[in-house]
Amino acid sequence: MAKEHNKNSERPVAEKGEHIIARHLIDDDAIKEEKNLVIDGVDVSGRWNTFIETRVDSEFDRSFFDEIQKTVVGSRINRCWQCGMCTASCTVTPLYRRFNPRAFIYMMQLGNLKLLKKYTDVAWRCVGCYKCSQRCPKQVNPAEMMEALALLIKKYFPEEIKSKHQLTIDEEVKVIYEGMILGHGRLDLANLHTSAMRKMGKTTELMSDKDERGAIFKMMKDGRALSVLRLGKPHKWHKSKDAIDNYLRHTGTLEQENN
């Protein structure tokens, strides 16, 4: 909050545009606001005279829209009418204010890659709690739309994934999951956890931190950590794997390009 006070009153004056919800979505230059303004004797300082300049989007790309609609997760993008119920119910938004599912879907509808690129650092943070999909009045399924968003980021901004630490980790953990699920047909959770910790550079924590070691040691000791070895692969899983690989090579959609 601003500490500055208006000459005529004790009312605090906010920072420019501070009261606008989802302030980060609007460019600084587009906000017109006078800090001290009196019209006809009425004090309209700060937020009382705020104007936002009309935004014109000239880079509307419809092909982008079709590309998303063809994926399994993004098939309902056409239904969204931007009510914002998804953002209002989101688990992540209160923790990371720039994570705004409604705005992401809007950018995807418009095909506005320039704007999307600004949000690659938070776009991956969806926790998949499905509150948005539960409350969406148009059954857009925003939770799965965030998966479609991840596909777009992977296709159009691969350099962002390589250069941003957390994005790199998210991607690497996904690859571990994929290797286990598609490669072996079953998940080895203990192995997944330790591999992910290693990717995150938490090797020392894995070995020295007493709490972390506690949980893993306990599971090693009572045999749970290694019990997956007893399970093995599903019978004739190699046939499933070949069929899956074959499908992913020929979908002709975003899903294929990301494979």
């Binding site: 997760v73 998949g128 998966e147 079953r186 949980a215 899903e255």
Partner: protein, 307 residues
């Protein structure tokens, strides 16, 4: 394998329940059997995709549906019972998507054919063990089987996300007999029927960090500490969960959460079925309480539920 008998049900164990969450698997089976239904594992199961394969198109449907096909061909069962909420979500999602989208169903079936599996016909459904026990037997049956009521034990029920959401897949509120999507109550009723005291704390259907439990610990720890501390503040002795992923976030990671957010987040976590097993007269060893990292044994002993 032959068809199931009348008091049997096809059961999908899943990866977590056969390995690190064996306590949930075993207690679910003990409780079901006591209530009169034997859970029979489907042979040759494969991973459901755990929500990480959603961007792989029809493959994300193939993974759960291959198991539905096996349940039908090997056990003659259209329905499949499972205890993990993430598996439950993947199965219900795949079945609903396959029902509404013929093209997608054809794609799944062509993968199934190439993989030398039988065709999937959309029928029957996936059932979460909580909903299954509630609708097939009900809290009254649980009460009848209770020999050691958990008197004086304050339990905070934690449903998490995917058991009740989204109703487009789970049919909560939509189909008769299903739970409420915003205020689920099946676990409340079971806990009351076994004599425990249910604590209200406001975070019953909040998220534990879900998809990002592994790769985004920071977010998961924050969410979990809110749930744990709220339940503790409301006076809970233990937090009851119905999903191994929630348990991973709230139980296995709890020492790290306490390190970051303090002792307010220190609260033993157990599975609902473990508590039910205890009330049904099974020992603490059979219910495998010692498997939990957050050490529920101490508080349960203190409350006098063990000999």
């Amino acid at each position: 394998m032959g068809n199931l008998k009348e008091n049997q049900a096809a059961y999908y164990p899943g990866c977590a329940l056969l390995t690190i969450d064996r306590a949930y698997n075993n207690s679910s089976k003990l409780v079901s059997k006591k209530m009169g239904i034997e859970l029979v594992d489907i042979p040759d199961y494969n991973c459901c995709g755990i929500g990480e394969m959603k961007s792989k198109g029809a493959v994300s449907l193939y993974l759960p549906l291959r198991n539905m096909v096996i349940a039908k061909s090997e056990l003659g069962s259209k329905d499949l019972v499972m205890a993990c909420s993430v598996c439950y979500h993947e199965f219900t999602r795949s079945i609903e998507r396959a029902k509404e989208d013929k093209k997608l169903l054809d794609e799944v079936n062509s993968i199934l054919k190439e993989a030398d599996e039988e065709e999937y016909v959309p029928e029957g459904g996936a059932r979460h063990i909580l909903e299954f026990l509630y609708n097939e037997k009900g809290p009254d049956e649980a009460k009848k089987n209770t020999v050691k009521p958990l008197k004086g034990l304050k339990v905070a029920p934690y449903y998490g996300c995917l058991y009740s959401r989204p109703s487009m897949y789970t049919f909560t509120d939509k189909k008769q007999g299903m739970d409420n999507s915003e205020r689920p109550h099946f676990m409340h009723e079971f806990l009351e029927s076994i004599g425990a005291e249910v604590v209200q704390y406001g975070n019953e259907v909040q998220c534990c960090g879900g998809r990002n439990v592994v790769q985004d610990e920071e977010t998961s720890f924050t969410l979990c500490s809110q749930t744990l501390s709220k339940a503790k503040k409301a006076g809970a002795d233990v937090l009851a969960v119905i999903c191994p992923k929630c348990a991973g976030a709230l139980d296995v990671n709890q020492p790290k959460i306490i390190e970051k957010f303090g002792k307010d987040s220190e609260l033993p976590v157990v599975y609902l079925t473990q508590l039910m097993a205890l009330a049904f007269g099974f020992s603490e060893k059979e219910a495998q309480f010692s498997d939990m990292i957050s050490n529920p044994l101490e508080v349960l002993k203190e409350k006098g539920h063990f000999i």
